[in-house]
């Protein structure tokens, strides 16, 4: 998501970066580019305008000051980033637990936003943290919404309170009330109440939502929003805010390429934080929402932290610890480690999603590659590494022509596949080295298509581009297409 926004920010900043001194006119130019990028990303017009004036207001009086700094464009970039994080909610907030259990969480939102799937994801997430959640089926309108919730509950072994069949039968207010009572009796510490989708302008159904709320007095009302929503985000969020009221927002379908301007609009307009993000159809495709990460993503810096965490979760403790100590001690990253990583990645699920979090994922070449990425490639790559001897895995430099031919034969791949794997591995190895030398776990070098705002030295960051560029070449989509056909 936010792809094109990142791209536009990137281009706006690279034009600015070429200039030694920034004048007031330059600022107009860059803010107007940011403005059109934000509009294309579906950020509400009013939010865009206030964002732009915030940037100008902060930057303009400081221009002289900024121009004295060693890197004025970096300074402006920081302002944009800070304001963006500010709008996206400042700091991440967690679920507020009730003083006296159970904690009651009510889900609301438009039709098709993804409430029922989210109920399952949230339950699983909370259960994995040692809670004992129960789901309450209050969507009695949409055909078989109750069945859906029951199946979801079964799949994660979370009980579902569903006394009514739904499909138009039953009173959701009553079910909600009974559900909370039941949960308290059965000592569940969390109750998640799924409700029917409704329109903000449907007065009758908004009143019903309010009745449900009043009946169960929830600790958290979560407003569930589809990340693909356009300018209506503001109208609907306001209607739900006034009609039912909500405490926080959940963004769904973030695994697509929607730029998700709604995230900016809703937080700005309603002043409510985005608490969670749903990123796929599996019940585990769910995470806390991190405003700072989202801002980095908007700015094209990639979502490195999320990637790191996803990686860590997938590795068994041993592998992770080994890798971490290797990383810290500066020991070389070998093909064996690479193999362990590949195995872990298979556990993590879709590579496309993970790779999308990498910095530079939004640049043209990388994006193309991601679109073409085929998860079966993982298995092929694994086969190649498995056909190597321990020595070759430790030290790929020994891989001469005849060794490569042998490996190709052993893994049933072409020699060119072996070559491209080695090339990619060397790139990754280099990147690991640079990450180690960079600060805060971010690679020192920015990806191609992204101007550099080096924290460290400029020379270092130029070098940082090399492995990425190579990576793009070796993933020639045309070649891949020819391969798989």
């Amino acid at each position: 998501m936010f792809d094109s926004l990142s791209a536009k920010f990137s281009s706006a900043f690279s034009s600015l970066r070429g200039k030694g001194r920034i004048k007031a006119g330059d600022l107009d130019e860059i803010t107007s580019e940011i403005r059109s990028a934000l509009l294309d990303s579906d950020v509400a017009v009013s939010v865009v305008d206030s964002f732009i004036s915030q940037i100008k207001e902060r930057a303009l009086p400081q221009l002289d000051e900024l121009n004295k700094s060693t890197n004025p464009s970096q300074a402006i970039f920081n302002i944009v980033n800070e304001e963006l994080v500010g709008i996206l909610g400042g700091t991440a907030r967690r679920i507020r637990y009730a003083k006296k259990a159970p904690t009651v969480i009510l889900l609301t939102g438009l039709q098709g936003a993804g409430k029922t799937s989210l109920a399952g994801k949230l339950a699983k997430y909370l259960k994995d943290q040692g809670n004992t959640p129960i789901l309450v089926a209050c969507d009695l309108a949409r055909p078989n919404a109750v069945t859906q919730l029951q199946l979801v509950g079964d799949s994660i072994s979370v009980p579902v309170f569903a006394p009514e069949p739904g499909n138009g039968v039953g009173d959701p207010v009553r079910v909600a009330k009974d559900g909370v009572k039941f949960a308290a009796e059965k000592l569940h510490n969390i109750v998640i109440v799924d409700t029917a989708g409704r329109l903000g302008i449907d007065a009758q159904l908004m009143a019903q939502a309010k009745q449900i709320r009043d009946a169960i007095n929830p600790d958290e009302v979560l407003y569930v929003v589809d990340a693909m929503v356009g300018q209506d985000a503001v109208r609907s969020a306001q209607a739900f805010g006034e009609g039912v009221g909500f405490d926080a927002v959940v963004l769904t379908k973030l695994d697509g390429d929607a730029r998700g301007g709604a995230a900016l609009s809703i937080t700005q307009i309603t002043n409510k934080p985005i608490m969670f993000a749903a990123t796929g159809e599996k019940v585990t495709d769910f995470d806390l929402f991190y405003p700072d990460r989202m801002a980095s993503r908007i700015l094209g810096l990639g979502d490195i932290q999320t990637l790191a965490e996803a990686t860590k979760n997938a590795f068994d403790g041993d592998t992770a610890a080994k890798l971490e100590s290797k990383f810290a001690s500066g020991e070389d990253f070998t093909l064996d480690d690479f193999l362990a990583q590949l195995e872990a990645m298979k556990k993590m699920g879709s590579m496309t999603k993970l790779l999308g979090m990498l910095p530079g994922a939004n640049s043209g070449a990388m994006k193309k590659q991601l679109e073409q990425f085929d998860d079966t490639e993982l298995i092929r790559t694994q086969a190649i590494v498995q056909s190597m001897t321990p020595l070759e895995r430790r030290d790929p430099k020994v891989l001469n022509g005849s060794r490569r031919a042998r490996i190709a034969k052993g893994s049933g791949r072409a020699v060119s596949d072996v070559n491209s794997l080695v090339e990619r591995f060397t790139g990754a190895q280099k990147m690991m080295k640079q990450m180690r030398s960079g600060k805060g776990g971010m690679p020192a070098g920015m990806p191609p298509g992204m101007p550099q705002f080096p924290q460290t030295s400029g020379a270092n960051s130029n070098k940082g581009n090399a492995p990425k560029a190579k990576k793009s070449r070796s993933g020639n989509p045309a070649k891949r297409a020819a391969e798989s056909s």
């Binding site: 302008i201 300018q231 609907s236 695994d255």
Partner: protein, 279 residues
Amino acid sequence: MAIFGKLFANLRGGKVSSADWEDVLQSLIESDLGAANSQSIIEIAKRERGESSEIAVKAALHSWLSEKPRAIAKSEGRTTTVLVVGVNGTGKTTSCAKLAGLLKRNGESVLLAAADTFRAAAVEQLQTWGTRLELPVISGAANGDPASVAFDAITKASGASTSYLLVDTAGRLHTKSDLMDELGKIRRVIEKVSPVDEVLLVVDATTGQNGIAQAKLFTSSVNVTGLILTKMDGSAKGGIALAIECETGIPVKFVGTGEALEDLSAFDADTYLSGLFDS
């Protein structure tokens, strides 16, 4: 076109302030038409004077609409197959049911295929609609192969000379190439028996600029022939549909205006355009 009402009145009187233009531009963007499209409407309006400005704007908007036919396909002498596709939660299953109802009311025989074998209770959802409509629904095992459900359905439909087969598919994001390939496979498998006549992409009226990518990518994998624009009963104006028509030439064929069976109507350009600019 209320957005333009004041503007055109002022134009006729010869006094349009830049704030007026800004207002119109903002309203256009707020209908999800896209910033660039909105800007070009303003430019078209500015180029002319007075009444001819009004005519020029209306003409431009009409010219953005697709010229392709908006009636649902009907093939004589064999089953007409309609594939219903789209991203998650847009209203595919509901629209399938509504469309089936519409066709049935027109005296057609209809078979429904529950080819969403992925989402929990998606099959049951379509079956419930089938029961309400008194129409048969073909389904397979949960988590089974959707293409084989589609194959069973088309075999049955063409054997029984059913006039329409409507295939409901699982919601999928257009960026997931494996799922898009699966859709391509469903289509190919059906076509071993009988051609697919319509592929209807269901687009939620609240969709923002991402709708363009949806239309393009679904088209490249299954060749979309029309749109169903759903949830037009809400506060969203559905301007993305005009942007999609303009960009891809795919026509909106039906509009969904509620959750009940009768809430589906054929697309009407004048109603749509006036709704779009009636704020």
